[in-house]
Symmetry: D2
Subunit: 414 residues, 4 copies
């Protein structure tokens, strides 16, 4: 006698190893799915093996772990660096950058195993839910999406009860007051006492940066090499981008660099107060800008911020895989061809000082700039330049003066 077993639908779950997504495995199984737990390392220092086993133990149909640090650095962090991504001029887009990478991997796993759905563990009031769902549908428009946390409406106590009922280990340590997300580009922290924006962030809100009071009394001076806009070496030593970032992050963090305190506008319409730590990002953003100051032609330098503002918004708002993003990246790549050279940075007590820079593509021409006798600048040209430069405003002033006089005369005549 034959038994026909209907195959269950498969779902890929973005799995972190924490309580929420562990409970989600059970919840999705109870909903009838075969769950593929997928943990993606973007540099938060996870114990991938333990996480893999945990998911399997809970009952995941498959437990996958992926070291995506290199991909993350090269495909996501790099364009963000080159476009000087600073949301609202303050925040270097830590979480917003990892989401599209994670989405890319989740969709890849889903296609590999023939899954029809993807699940994430975002809450209903953050930006990440948008980034996950918009990203997934931009890559796989027909994919079904499950969002257990937004769906189950449980209190903390109910969630723990469900965990116990399903034999899911519950952490016994008191939960941190903070909600944290991190990767190799930085660390984001919110909640708890930070919800009062008048209160200074306490030291325990920080982890990757030494308080300035305890930083070394000697500066660290480093040379950062750029090739076509890519940081390729520290002090002349070449290394892959993810390693370069992690190495620099450590040194910069020890010098107290990269703390950011930001009341920001979320895509979902509210303001929230966030504490970020981005040691490497802070250094690299300053150094890359400095390199560009030397090598970008003026019109490029003055228009690029318009692209920067918009690309920031796209990334923050979860539109990494939009067609506008692709066009922007094409613009960006074209501008990076000349960004070659070395910037010497001094890291000291929270400060990044770009104190020297040189480049074969340097547009700084000493013989044009100098006030010494080597001067090659044609000072006569200035007179003609000014005449035409000021002409529209001069004519404007003349005309308004005359128009005013006429008006005055007309008024006097009454």
């Amino acid at each position: 006698m034959e038994t026909i077993v209907m195959a269950k639908e498969k779902i890929v779950l973005a799995y972190s190893g924490g309580l929420d997504t562990s409970v989600a495995i059970a919840w999705l199984m109870n909903k009838g799915y075969d769950v593929i737990a997928c943990c993606i390392d973007v540099g938060e220092g996870l114990d991938l093996e333990a996480i893999q086993q945990k998911a399997a133990a809970i009952g995941a149909w498959k437990s996958v772990v992926i070291d995506a640090k290199r991909d993350f650095a090269e495909q996501f962090v790099l364009p963000a660096l080159q476009v000087h991504a600073m949301y609202e001029q303050k925040y270097p887009l830590v979480s917003a950058l990892s989401r599209p990478l994670i989405v890319q991997k989740l969709v890849g796993v889903a296609k590999e195993y023939g899954a029809t759905a993807i699940a994430h563990g975002c809450t209903g009031k953050g930006n990440d839910q948008v980034r996950f769902e918009a990203g997934i549908h931009a890559l796989a428009p027909e994919m079904k999406i499950e969002d257990p946390i937004r769906d189950w409406h449980w209190s903390r106590e109910e969630e723990i009860q469900y965990a116990k009922d399903n034999n899911i280990p519950v952490p016994i340590t008191k939960a941190s007051p903070y909600s944290i997300d991190q990767n190799l580009w930085g660390r984001a922290n919110e909640c708890g006492i930070l919800e009062d924006p008048w209160v200074a962030a306490p030291e325990d809100a920080y982890e990757r940066t030494t308080p300035i009071e305890e930083t070394p009394d000697q500066p660290t001076v480093m040379e950062i090499t750029f090739k076509e806009g890519v940081p390729t070496a520290l002090d002349g030593k070449e290394m892959p981008l993810d390693q370069l970032i992690m190495k620099l992050d450590k040194v910069a963090g020890e010098n107290g660099i990269g703390r950011i305190d930001h009341v920001e506008n979320r895509l979902v319409g509210i303001k929230s107060r966030e504490i970020y730590e981005c040691p490497a990002a802070t250094v690299l953003l300053a150094a890359h800008k400095d390199m560009e100051d030397l090598t970008q032609e003026r019109e490029v330098a003055h228009f690029k911020p318009t692209i920067e503002l918009k690309m920031n918004e796209l990334i923050y708002n979860g539109l990494w895989y939009s067609p506008l993003m692709k066009a922007m990246v094409a613009f960006l790549e074209e501008t990076q061809k000349v960004v070659n050279g070395v910037v010497r940075v001094k890291l000291f007590k929270g400060n990044v000082v770009c104190e020297g820079r040189k480049s074969a593509n340097s547009l700084y021409d000493k013989n044009l700039a100098t006030y010494t006798s080597a001067d090659e600048f044609d000072q006569e040209a200035a007179t003609g330049f000014i005449k035409l430069w000021e002409l529209p405003d001069k004519v404007y002033a003349q005309v308004q003066e005359k128009a005013q006089l006429k008006k005055g005369a007309a008024t006097d005549a009454h």
Copy 2:
């Protein structure tokens, strides 16, 4: 018998008391002008009385001095602060801000004394010549302009000889290697060793900032009060803006804040390397931005940088008195009405940390932002929001997928 004396033409000279403009008095007199020397104090700490006497001694027909610090702070520095003026995201527009103020005063003096011409002492390769001439003609389009330094084509030695021939005192101390301009908003320094952008600026290039190594080991914490975008008080003590800036400048400078090293694009088409010191500006710009982060509605916050970029350009490029500037200021003023409140800053070893902020106009709503049970945010709304937010990109993905398939099918058919 009567003697008819033809009145000479009068010219107003922007007079600094230095060698160049002192020689210019004589040069203009020799050209047949009655010279009105006009020295305008914008906070560089001049000995106005001595300067006034010096011009008179050289033979100026009139020697005028004007303390313009208050006007400078309120009419020129303030809008620059509110628009977060940072040329090329680095330089808070020190000299570019004082030029239109000086121009305003020069034109005022010219009208008072019936002068037909104005003279300035700029060289032919800087931005200031443009700012002076464009500014003068925007206010007084018919005014003649003389520019002795650009005109006389002398070497240093020839200038000194001319000075001696005309009984003008020549400074005996060796000339500084640097070319410096300063006012209450900052200090600009170029030339000498700074002309090599790979070389770190030596300590003697700085004057208003203590090297970080020698700054106090205890932070200075201050509260800065804003009313409609105007900084009105330090630690609750109200004071006029020029005094507030100068007071803050001292404290911030002692904490090593405000050094800037910038390879910038001049309007006249060359790159130059500049060292700026802007202690107060650095603090106020950070604090004002922080105040805005709390009080500006999202769309305002996200569009204002577009205005900022353009206004920066206008100011740097000498177009302060252009009609576009007026329209931008109208925009700006409208946005400042809600910028009320207090920012608590910590000044420490080169760092400005905005560590707390509060406002009656705060748009941060704890009950919307919180992850505690006080949460008032409608998390259900997110699902609908995401659906419409991602819709254009989802349709785009579907369509391109289908178009690709069709193309593929067409290709296969061959």
Copy 3:
């Protein structure tokens, strides 16, 4: 014996006199409200008296009608004209402009009668629901909103049955295949055959414009006078803006002007195909731009489109009452001060030709522009201007050439 009657909650309903909002009166009454039907005339040519009686007959607690044509023209159409509002460079924002006016009136009525809620008759897939709700909450954040049509989920048949059950007159004529909204600034038409963007709009889709084939064979030439950006007179005859628009609309429509066929991006994420007729708008937008070409200084002319794009978006997206809008209007008003003068337009067979223009604020200076001997332009100045204008790109070319050579040499050496 006394009977205590609990006062019902009052709701203001945006009432058009059509079937949907008539049924809505009954539906809201059945939900327990006292309904204040409020019909606002923005120039669609309504029989206000009949509408007022109809609402009363259905049982409205109060039936209010408001002639808002003047307010609409002066407060909403005017800024749109001055900012050259053309959504996606095609559509002069017909409905998007009337919504904030209607919202303003509804909120006013609600406050007058102490209503706690406002109802509108929008469907769930258009932009108007957003404009109504965002507008209402921007003016009265605590106001409750009802949206019967989105809520009742009825088919056409069910709705008609409900109408009959509640003694609401049902139109016996066959429903038009189109969905139409209009006001004095134009007419919007969608649905039916128009839903296929490859099909040309049939003649019966148009109402306010004569087909070109049937327009007069003689052009109509008119002079339009502007004062500070406001069209104030036609052929020298002054009239209020709403009358000027309606008069011009008739003439322009008779000349076949103002048909627009637009596949546009809705805020709710879909593309829709719309047919607009905007005779007066088309003429006034062309004439106002022409007036600005003559009177706006170059930098204003070149930056204003950036403001225009954003303001277009704000209006289309229902953010009329946002603080960014206020700041933009401040910018706009400042630019309009010089927009004075007369434009002579020729209306002919669908074309608006601005064939002449004059202004006391004209910045066109024949003596600068002419190629005759009256020329006052300093042609020598051009040489200097070009030298500095091209300098950044020239240096760029030199540097890249050199960098390329070096690279080449390095490669050759291998």
Copy 4:
């Protein structure tokens, strides 16, 4: 005995066959150059052979003619079309587009023959001198530039005398009152009676367009096919771009399409009044925009105008070969990949009506847009969308209301 002959320096002259550049041949020869006359056909309908012989007859060392219509259309007109280039929203950049093409060819010829200089025949008050010189130096930074017309300072009579003295044929017909430049993308006309902007352009100012009064009474309907943003076929018939433009230009011109009357801002600081005729350009710009309306994703559609504005400025201002232009073109090309399909245009009495459009990349989805029962749009989602969309402004309104109340209370307390 040997005679050593020093080779003369060679110069390439942009030669049109007209009086000015013919005289320039002699003038440059008299200055000691070997002159290479180079005439480049960009579609103005020149008799290249006659021109080539004329230059040789005057004494040019070499006389070169180049048919550059294909290159012009494909490399210069095409990106301008795709970026919807309309300077100041009116003028499709006729001359501004041909200058960089001509520069490219001149530099090519100069390199081929080892010339050290290039000469052009621009006056000192137009934009073209800037475009020529900036273009030449961007491609060949060391190239010397001669500008005879700006240099010789002759009256018309003196020029004619010099022509006679050097045996250069002088045209006997009375000179046209107009100054004209044209190519396959359009025709530009200025001077004469056109210098009064209040006067309508007389019929004799036009050449490529039939007056509407005399156009056919039957419309011409055509289908224009686009492949990746390139117009490739008319009514299904494929042809190279230059031929397509010239064919369309004739038909559109016969239908009275493409007259433009523009008071524009020149780069050299003055306003000038220009009459353009751009029949093909007007049609293609409308059709391409229409194709984009159907195929571009919303964010692309809404940001592209920012790129358009800037690219317009770059082209108009002679910066075609700038690095910013390259980056913009990269952006542009990325956006064109989806611009595939057919637009059906109706050309009739001066009007271009895009009456139908279809595309395999169409993002218009009838099932989302329809109001029929086929509707697939999730109307429930709108409620959630609006809640988050309006949230920032709603909070803003609440806060200002409260802040106002507090202020009021504070004031009342006095």
